[in-house]
Amino acid sequence: MLKALKYLIVGFVFGIVLTKSEAVSWYRIYEMFQFQSFHMYGIIGVAVVVGLIGVQIIKRTNAKDIKGEPIVIADKEPGSARYWIGGLIFGLGWALAGSCPGPIFILIGAGFWPLLLTLAGALIGTFLYGVIKDKLPH
């Protein structure tokens, strides 16, 4: 139970930050793709730079995780087609529905029920990928 609590707290902070930064807002995503505001780019940029510094510190100090095990951050599988094509398909959906997977859940939690439709679609899409994955270039 206590083990689960730390995940709940981290998730809670994530939900608050994404809502209060308005990264969950359909409007902010539209504005971002129109290059009419720095806001979203600033959020992603700062997260990457701070993350990069943190990851470098973890790697260079051979930091241990909470259980005392060495931290291993897995490399992404090499490849190209899946990243370009999959990325492009996700991008189309991101701009159309105005949310990415985290915000879909966060907005449902906030009581925006129409997002249940987006979630249903996302589950169908994930399922479809599972069905045809072996036929796709990766």
């Binding site: 991008g91 189309l92 159309l96 997977p101």
Partner: protein, 185 residues
């Protein structure tokens, strides 16, 4: 205290998102939200039909707890920390949206034209949300991650595949926002 209710600045938000990612790494896990969609498919029994979903989703339960926390956070932030000054867009964006028949935010996170009660009686708006969702679910699983897994986690770890994916996200997003949305709305 007032600042809590206003739109949080990008540098505070970006810093906290990185902190969330680093916390999960410190817990021996990883930051990636779209994986939960696969777990949910497995929980619904998709593993009986498709081998991709026949995996030990219980090992991913922690991530479902993260998303449950995020939903709770969304509830608290929307109900107790919002202000009518929120979602202060570029005036040019508002003008452009008006031309497409989409209402200005005035503090709302989502436009009524797409998510309002009236919109939910329109087959077109319902189709937009469902199709958008299908593209999101298919694309993220194909690419092996979304904004959290590739843009934040992957780029922070200098992963070339993540850079390809993120460039793909933006190519797709720009095509939709500039060429397709004006045709759809």
């Amino acid at each position: 205290m007032e600042a809590l209710y206003e739109t949080w600045p990008w540098y505070v938000s970006g810093f906290l998102i990185a902190a969330v990612m680093l916390c999960l790494i410190w817990f021996g896990k990883t930051f990636g939200m779209s994986s939960n969609l696969r777990s949910l498919c497995s929980i619904a029994g998709a593993g009986k039909l498709v081998p991709f979903f026949d995996f030990d989703w219980k090992s991913q339960r922690w991530n479902l707890v993260v998303i449950a926390g995020a939903m709770l956070g969304g509830f608290v932030a929307t109900h107790y920390l919002s202000s009518p000054t929120n979602v202060d867009l570029n005036p040019r964006t508002i003008e452009q949206l008006a031309q497409m028949g989409i209402d200005a935010p005035q503090g709302k996170l989502l436009p009524d034209a797409v998510f309002g009660a009236q919109a939910m009686t329109s087959p077109k708006m319902i189709a937009i949300l469902v199709v958008g969702g299908i593209l999101i679910g298919f694309g993220t699983r194909y690419a092996g991650g979304c904004t959290s897994g590739h843009a934040i986690t992957g780029l922070s770890n200098l992963q070339l595949p993540s850079l390809k994916a993120v460039i793909g996200f933006f190519i797709g997003g720009l095509i939709m926002a500039h060429f397709l949305l004006p045709l759809i709305f």
